[in-house]
């Protein structure tokens, strides 16, 4: 066990956990930030996507000891009032069915659009390809990313 100081959603948090613990479980079990989801545990589905210094990463494969002073943003911290353009676009297109993968989808989309605010359809598909949606909302996700890109 070791003590780690983490910068999460603009707040400094201390946790005492095994240094191999993936950030996913630090967020969920130790900090009650349960918006980040467990899907596969091997970085294949994207449900656990968070931002590390603004880049989308899979939190299930990121040990707490590797974070250092990097800034973590989770779905809970993406916007103040749930009004990030990507979140708003998700609502506009009424994307979610079961909803379980959507936090990860949104985090991937938000990081992607920051670097590429005017993507082509193909670029959107490539960027979102690591996030599985078992309900199959892909066409709506693509439309929502396009809508968000117009507002960014």
């Amino acid at each position: 066990m070791a003590l780690f100081t983490l910068n999460i959603n603009g707040k400094t948090q201390e946790v005492d956990v095994d240094s191999n613990t993936p950030i996913l479980w630090v967020l969920r079990d130790h900090l009650d930030l349960v918006g980040t989801k467990f899907g596969c545990g091997i970085a294949q589905c994207g449900a656990c996507t968070i931002h590390l210094d603004g880049n989308a990463v899979r939190s299930c494969q990121l040990p707490v000891s590797a974070v250092g002073s990097s800034v973590i943003t989770t779905i809970e911290g993406l916007s103040e009032n749930g009004n990030h353009p990507v979140q708003e676009a998700w609502l506009e297109h009424d994307v979610p069915q079961c909803g379980y993968c959507q936090a990860g989808q949104i985090m991937t989309a938000a990081a992607f659009l920051k670097n590429n605010p005017n993507p082509t359809e193909e670029e959107i598909e490539n960027a979102m390809n690591g996030n599985i949606c078992r309900c199959g909302t892909y066409t709506r996700i693509k439309a929502a990313v396009q809508t968000a890109s117009q507002k960014l």
């Binding site: 613990t21 969920r28 809970e76 749930g82 979140q87 609502l91 936090a103």
Partner: protein, 753 residues
């Protein structure tokens, strides 16, 4: 207007002052599509007045509607309250929706499955809404001393036009709650619907996009422990022993013990499909710690002998069910299915003289189709929160079927039914998997043993390798034709491991003079269960691929050919038990022909069509593919659907789009194989799921507007996709696709998948 008798459904009108078990009302949310502005926002009232099980109204006019069915993504939590709100005649923006707990004394059929939520809920929801409205009208009539027949309602306002009196529902709610429930109420005319048929946003949308705790796995209480399970590595194996000491020194590990889901003398119900009834539980202080211990636990497994148990059937009869011994292999499965498809099966239907027709046929076409086991792979793995202390249990878990697991919980825990509260969590997908809810029993047993609240979760590997899978299937179709390519007879023989996919009385039965349907099945110890459109999800692909090939052999347009058969079934049906309506079947084919511009496709596009009837609904689909950069790309999918009245059109389209994506994914990639009883894929690195790049570039879902009562929607768009895709790929590549998944064959044709 229709008059309905409220006595048919008294339990919905029980007035109970408090919810059992205190409830875990996690899902309190505004319903409005966008955030209510301050002028619009009513806020929480000081007091709620309960008008019936589904509806309570606050003194300020706010309305709470209880959504009875578990939500797994099919939109019932929005759509079912829309039905209540319609007949209540309230303003949707004043509505809060709450997920009801499992409470069969108050709510009907709290089951999500079989695409029956809206169909079965239609009449009870409408009646409950109309009854509450009638109570409010009667309260106003009493207050204003005018006849109730002179009072009108609109968007939550009561009005007596002659006297100019007006009140909102909240002003009459306290009196209305004390009045006698009327024996008869009027339902609205379908043409007067204001909410039904007008798209409403998902009531949990804002909570989902902001990451609010909505799922059982998100639930946290003081003193809660975490648990993982260790199950046999193969079907056909069972627990022999384990060494607690191998993990007991690990940090954060509190306890390790075996649990058994069934007591020896328990008579199972038909939803008691439990993959491994005996497993080992590991309890600790965090998920990560119990997952680490799981890897280190030393366990000995042994081959299980043949076992049998008693199962209660729907009619009350109990039968003995046997589970064979052995470690099964997919290669052996395939060989056995091939063998069975050549042997005589059980005859399910025979019309005319099929054998005679085949003897005199000038030409016989015979094709065999097959598909593997499939894992449901819900994005949220099986999990459950349970808090069992003494003789009381609170279970908060993802289940499609609380009713069917309650008896299992009672016997496993030894706690009476009235002391067990099941609260319904939003599910991260279901697809049939969570109709089998032994994960609730496992969590409850773990909590009971440690006498503390626990959150139990499967790893993805557990979830995929301890599944209740879609069975493996095979179907052989034969057609007899005369020298002029007229269809003389059709013969289908289909089976599976361990169940047959055949629906003997569905189309094209009824359209062909000489028809034979045979069935077979091969026992297995691999657990199977409902998977989106059970049986239909395979047989539709086989049947509709075969009809495509027949149409081609006869030189006919595939839609025209189907319409000809349907015309025959309509005007001069063969046999008496045909379970579909030919006109409605034909209407979706006609609609998809129009919407897809069937007769003038885009240049370079290869298109295939398919149509199927299941879950009381009719669906026709056209798939357009192109080969781009040596890769098959699904360019467009057009669907025409007859599911009667559509309650929430945009959400209905969303689900239809999802079913199409799901079908294309499983047709291309879906496969779970077994070696020595062990699934060869246990996570998404090997089990290929459809992803963004493979999804259709465009999907259009069109509904037949016929004002019929609603029928199923979650499943019926899924089965026809397989053949529409296969038929389209045939046009693109010149090859037919008989074996699912299609990707390996496409790769052998040097296409990139």
């Amino acid at each position: 207007m229709t008059t309905v008798n409220t006595k048919l459904d008294r339990r919905s009108f029980l007035k109970v002052s408090a919810l059992a078990g205190g409830g875990m009302m996690l899902s309190f949310s505004w319903l409005a599509g966008c955030k209510p502005t301050p002028e619009e926002e009513l806020g929480l009232p000081k007091e709620w007045f309960e008008l019936n099980s589904y509806i309570k109204i606050g003194e300020n006019g706010a309305v709470t509607l209880y959504s009875p069915n578990p939500e797994f993504g099919s939109n019932v939590k929005t759509s079912m309250p829309m039905i209540l709100a319609e007949e209540l005649d309230t303003d949707w923006k004043n509505v809060f929706v709450e997920q009801a707990d499992f409470y069969p004394e108050r709510f009907d059929r709290q089951f999500t499955g079989g695409s029956q939520g809206i169909r079965m809920g239609w009449r009870p929801m409408r009646t409950a809404g109309a009854t509450a409205r009638a109570l409010l009208v009667n309260a106003a009539a009493q207050t204003w001393n005018v006849p109730s027949t002179e009072i009108t309602t609109s968007a939550g306002i009561l009005e007596h036009k002659a006297s100019g009196k007006k009140a909102h529902y909240g002003e009459m709610a306290s009196l209305a709650a004390t009045l006698e429930v009327p024996e008869e109420v009027q339902l609205k005319d379908v043409n007067d619907f204001k909410i039904i048929g007008n798209s409403k946003k998902n009531v949990d949308g804002e909570n989902i996009v902001t990451g609010k705790p909505l799922f059982a796995l998100d639930h946290r209480v003081e003193g809660m422990k975490y648990a993982a399970i260790v199950h046999p590595p193969a079907f056909g194996m069972r627990l022999k022993s384990f060494d607690k000491n191998s993990v007991s020194g690990m940090h954060g590990i509190l306890d390790v013990f075996p649990i058994s889901v069934f007591k020896d003398d328990y008579t199972r119900n038909s939803f008691d499909t439990t993959t491994f009834p005996e497993i080992v539980a590991i309890v600790g202080n965090s998920t990560w710690e119990v997952m680490q211990a799981k890897k280190s636990l030393k366990v000995e497994w042994e081959n299980a002998p043949e076992t049998s148990f008693q199962m209660a059937g729907w009619g009350g009869n109990t039968s003995s069910v046997s589970i064979p011994a052995g470690l099964e292999n997919s290669s052996v499965h395939k060989a056995r299915m091939a063998e069975y498809s050549q042997k005589p099966g059980t005859i399910l239907r025979r019309d005319g003289d099929p054998e005679g027709a085949f003897k005199k046929a000038a030409k016989v076409i015979e094709r065999t189709y097959s598909a593997p086991f499939l894992a449901h792979n819900t994005m949220e793995p099986m999990n459950c929160f349970a808090d069992v202390k003494g003789d009381k249990a609170v279970i908060y878990g993802p289940t499609q079927a609380p009713e069917f697991i309650m008896g299992t919980l009672v016997q496993a825990l030894g706690i009476p039914r009235e002391n067990i509260q099941i609260n319904l969590a939003r599910m991260g997908g279901g697809f049939g998997r969570r109709a089998y809810s032994h994960h609730l029993v496992e969590a409850a047993l773990i909590s009971q043993k440690i006498q503390a609240p626990v959150s139990m979760v499967y790893t993805r590997e557990d979830d995929m390798s301890a599944g209740v899978y879609r069975p493996a299937y095979s179907a052989t179709y034969r057609a007899a034709m005369d020298e002029n390519n007229n269809l003389l007879a059709l013969h289908v023989k289909a089976g599976g491991i361990p169940e047959s996919p055949i629906h003997a009385n569905r189309f094209p039965a009824g359209a062909i003079d000489n028809y034979l349907a045979e069935s077979w099945d091969i026992p297995s110890n691999i657990t199977i269960g409902a998977f989106r459109a059970p049986r239909s999800n395979f047989i539709a692909g086989a049947e509709q691929s075969f009809l495509d090939e027949l149409a081609e052999a006869m030189g006919k347009d595939p839609i025209e050919f189907r319409l000809e058969l349907l015309k025959r079934a309509e005007t001069n049906p063969v046999g008496e038990n045909n379970d579909y309506l030919p006109q409605r079947y034909a209407s979706v084919l006609e609609l998809v022909r129009e919407k897809s511009n069937w007769n003038s496709p885009q240049p370079n596009v290869s298109r295939g069509v398919s149509a199927y009837f299941c879950h009381n609904s009719y669906v026709a689909e056209v798939v357009d593919t192109v080969i781009k950069n040596n890769q098959p790309v699904v360019e467009s999918v057009y669907a025409a659907v007859d599911c009667g009245i559509v309650v929430n059109p945009d959400a209905a389209r969303n689900m239809g789009e999802g079913a199409i994506v799901d079908g294309i994914g499983n047709a291309f990639f879906g496969e779970l194989a077994f070696e020595n009883g062990t699934p060869t894929k246990t996570n998404f690195d090997k089990y290929r799921m459809i992803r963004h790049k493979e999804a259709p570039k465009k999907i259009e879902v069109h509904f037949v507007d016929n004002g019929e009562e609603p029928t199923g929607l979650g499943e019926p768009l899924f089965p026809p996709v397989f053949a529409a895709l296969a038929n389209s790929l045939y046009k693109a590549t010149g090859k037919r696709y008989y074996e699912q998944p299609f990707a390996p064959q496409l790769e052998m044709q040097n296409l990139k998948m």
